[in-house]
Point group: D2
Chain length 368, copies 4
């Protein structure tokens, strides 16, 4: 991924790296051994890049891994197929990366809650179609961000990939009549959800994780866009605390964090779309659509997490210029009130349920 | 939509038609009036095409509708903004269309369950990367379809759009301090979920519905692909009951239903992707992304429902050639068993947990 | 397509309607007859909706059409397959719709050229990352729009679909050794490009048309976005002549045309993406991907043309407030000049090649 | 990119690596210096990962690079903006990567031509909707692949990114009235097309390159799909020479190359779609859409090239089983001939213009 160190936090890059996938594959193999009562050691020292290149021959990295494991542990991988190990590794990688994303989203939610609370009386122009409409509060804007982030977090937390174990074509044939028990032991060992039926080509879990990431990323894009629009020179209502400078234009304080967030959003959604398209898989193992998931999943996780991290940075210490917000309001934002025959002499008089909605949002956040 | 009468069932076409949207807008206006205790009549006779064309001036069809309503009901629409009515209409349209889709998915699920049950002992080749691997049963294949369809249904059922009422910029300013109560009465009147905060630009409900449709459609595509592959001349293991003929090649019995299902899937996912991209909306009303949702939502609903209807037709009366399935199995599908030192002299001996998984799938279906 | 009369000009709606497709299919059948020297009449009166519904059985509308034609013209369709007629109809529909789009793009280009010329000395802030950077002219901005529109037009004009004639599987077998001659006569009759080899599943022409539409639409989205941003209340540098009002906020002059343009762009690109995904087609006729093209092509054409029409409306009579542009410029836009040691005492002194680039753009437009 | 060493050839990975981008940025800076007659040395030793991480502050890697360059070359970067250097670097990276892709496509085309020529008399079933229809030759199938690949190559070769030089907002203000001359010298120095007007936010070149990659990738997906379908156990008409084995099922010879090609196609198209969506950019530099291009461009280039390399491997030494092709043909493939009253007693009698089309395709290839 070009310039990934610029976009993606180091922890997330590590969480979806080839090395992380390798460790997750080894964890899956160990759980498989444990589920069968094997006491073989599966600790090997592996050059991950070499392994991945060796995967070109069979079309996946598990086949060379298993060859390597069997040098010292002949029963390794018994009863499983490559996809069992790789899908389970995906579940483990996704669990770890999702925890990191969740942590970023939690940070974003706290900042939104703080802004909502602090600015419940900070009056600003509500803008529709980029035109001033009626007054709102900055607290209400932040409260709506908050509700969205809490929803996105919940959705993401619910999108857990199950363990995978089906054998060559989903029958667990090599385990005779013990298949279902081995599956149960395996999932338990890994603390992953146990699937009702192996999901080699029933990819709803992956697609739903992709959908949750696309939705989370998209909503983060909305927050970033609002920040970038409010930070416009001519609006000047907020400013990122760590706005980026320009080497030649010292006056600029670019909204770098919201800008990079938006870039991550565009790419995260494209990566996630692969996971939804890839639902259409042939028979008991797809000839391509499955293989497309690995990189797309890593990218969707890393870029959604990156978007969250950048939005968090944008909101952290966000300089809110309440005076400017108030001063920017045009007189005619009360024209609706007038039309409705409502006696409002200042924007402060025409805020309706803004504060009540802030309370509802904060309650919603607290109780989740 | 070109040739929509070819792809989409009539009931679904009606459910997302301009007329259906108009009736839903009227229902929203009536609920708004009721929530405010108004007793004005809002029954008007409207030429929907004319109304939609009039909507070009303001950028939405609510503005001309309201002008029309106010001719006889001067307080109509009071306190609301166009988006309140249109979003609520979207919620009503989606509720109706989703019920139709759910009915189709239910039909698909029942057919899958029937196939799973009937064919739990019908042995066929399991195929990975389009190559025969180890034996499975057709019942297991259908059981996996079943689990996916049940999941897709649940996900879709959970994706309900809430009522929308926020006024010009989400404060419900025109209702003074009664806004929250009016919102509650309005949602209750419509029997729609009540949002915590108006969601004019917090589009997670729409995006999540889009995601649920994309996932459902994608999985329907998997079933249709399996049917089309099994129906290949050289495989010949299934045949659609109502396979389409060719005017010049009388021998052909084309898998028309699975073919059209796959076409609908491709387009449904593209329409749904708009709903996820459109999360990135400006301030209190978006200048474009909101307007993009209307048609995309209708298309995603109609085409997902159409995909479900075609898959249902493909499975309804599906001719399963169990003998051909058995005959197609190559001898070497037992090579894995041999390698594992398992004593299997026929494919029937090497089915592992296939039947157990069928039971689990049928149980899962029954208990949902 | 929901609310299509709101988004899409009537001429474009007609150009991609079922009726237009039917007439194009008839034109293809007549050209086929002519190419074979048949003198049968192929003028029939057909209820297009009925025909389309009948197409559900065979999976396309040509099969029932041919049955109907053969009632009076027994040799109709001889040697062709349904796809020949439908692909050729697509070529004809696309040719007509593209001409309408081209006309809109031409209008957009002329308006851009006019703005570029008129405003070559209208100084405004150049904005990067939505922050004021250094001065530019509005003429330069319009000149860049102009170059993009001219490029988009050229690209679209080059994306012509060829005639299609291959028979059941691309061999023109029914014509014996005269196939190539019949193909030539057929393409000539229709004045469509003659393909080197039938393109039943080599869908580059359709995908490239989709790509050209996606690119044109995307760039129209850039112009619309610029207009919407410049029209923001706090910027106020331009105003759409026919800005839309609000029923409750009389002060608002919403940038309706650029808003609707942006909505069309989002959907046009999604429709066009189907045409690129659908390149992956099986053997000699795809089981689904081909069928997905019809509606997607119509939508991509209609929505790109609609985007062009809305951008044209946005630019037509655009109120450019040159004084506001000048007044909005912050003093520090000269900080770069200062840093470079360039003696610039006003924005007018620091415009570099802005005017030269306007000339280049106008020349480019004139000579194409 | 997860497991990129498995999917992407080493040369392509290198061509889009951070190091390649850095070298391209340096080349751009050197050309800029040369175009201004500077004789400063711009050879510095840089830790690219450190540089990229430093880019987090300003939102791009050029800003820290320039700081570094100016330590020894104070006039470095004079008159340019970060985007000038990064866009020009993108043009150089794309040129190099495109040359590698072109080489792979050339290889694919040669193999297609060879197959078309060798198998012009190899009769097989033509298949529509995955059902046998009428006879074709394998030569005709390969000829159609050939025409598509030649078209895709031409399209890709035409999609060259121009040099970029516009200064902070596209006026080249820092160059006074010499801007246009410096731009010319700069483009000449780099041997890149000279733009008519700087294209900071007129992203058609990038989008068109994206489109060309999406189209090339999609068509490669069609070839790969055909190979995978023909290689099915039950069809068995072709076999990849280097088919992948399975650790537990020794009989399997998986179509690994076409499988991995299809995976690359899915992801390449998603990456390319970002480049089309990203056309919608604000004012003189986008706040996010520009930044999304870098990684998407690298991915689209790498994955399209990878798809080409895998298709090339699939076709290289492809084992074509002409006897099986002939034996698979069902008797009823002559039913159309019979219906048309054509005297064809064997498939060989009903091939129409198949051979003529092969000639046309080979000619087309030779003369391009």
């Amino acid at each position: 991924m070009t310039f990934d160190a610029l976009f993606v936090p180091a922890a997330l890059r590590a969480a979806v790296s080839d090395e992380a996938w390798l460790q997750a594959m080894l964890e899956a193999e160990r759980a498989l051994a444990a589920a069968q009562g094997s006491d073989e050691e599966l600790d090997v020292d592996i050059d991950v890049q070499q392994l991945v290149e060796q995967g070109r021959a069979a079309g996946n990295p598990v086949e060379p891994l298993v060859r390597r494991l069997r040098e010292t542990a002949p029963s390794a991988h018994r009863g499983a197929t490559s996809q069992d190990i790789l899908d389970t590794a995906a579940a483990l990688v996704a669990r770890n990366a999702t925890a990191l994303i969740d942590d970023q989203l939690d940070g974003v939610a706290r900042l939104c809650a703080q802004l909502a609370d602090e600015h419940r009386a900070t009056v600003m122009a509500g803008r529709t179609l980029l035109q001033q409409a009626v007054p709102i509060t900055f607290g209400l804007k932040a409260a709506s961000w908050l509700v969205g982030v809490v929803h996105a977090r919940e959705r993401l937390a619910a999108a857990r990939l199950p363990a995978q174990l089906g054998g060559a074509a989903g029958t667990l044939a090599a385990f005779g009549d013990r298949g279902v028990d081995v599956l149960h032991a395996y999932a338990t060992e890994l603390d992953l959800p146990e699937p009702i039926v192996p999901w080699h080509t029933r990819r709803l879990p992956v697609a739903e994780l992709g959908a949750a990431l696309a939705v989370a990323a998209g909503f983060l894009g909305k927050i970033a866009l609002d920040v970038a629009l409010l930070a416009q020179t001519e609006v000047g209502e907020v400013r990122e605390a760590a706005g980026g400078g320009s080497s030649t234009m010292p006056q600029k304080q670019n909204p770098v964090a919201s800008t990079l967030a938006r870039a991550c959003v565009l790419r995260a959604q494209a990566a996630a779309s692969v996971l939804m398209s890839a639902l259409v898989q042939e028979h008991e193992r797809a000839a391509g659509a499955w293989h497309a998931e690995w990189g797309a999943l890593s990218d969707a996780l890393a870029l959604t997490g990156a978007a969250a991290a950048w939005v968090r940075q944008a909101l952290d210490g966000l300089e809110v210029d309440a005076e400017r917000m108030r001063a920017n309001i045009r007189d005619d934002v009360l024209s609706e009130a007038e039309r409705f025959g409502i006696d409002a002499t200042s924007p402060e008089d025409y805020l309706g349920s803004a504060s009540a909605f802030v309370d509802r949002a904060l309650d919603f956040h607290r109780t989740r």
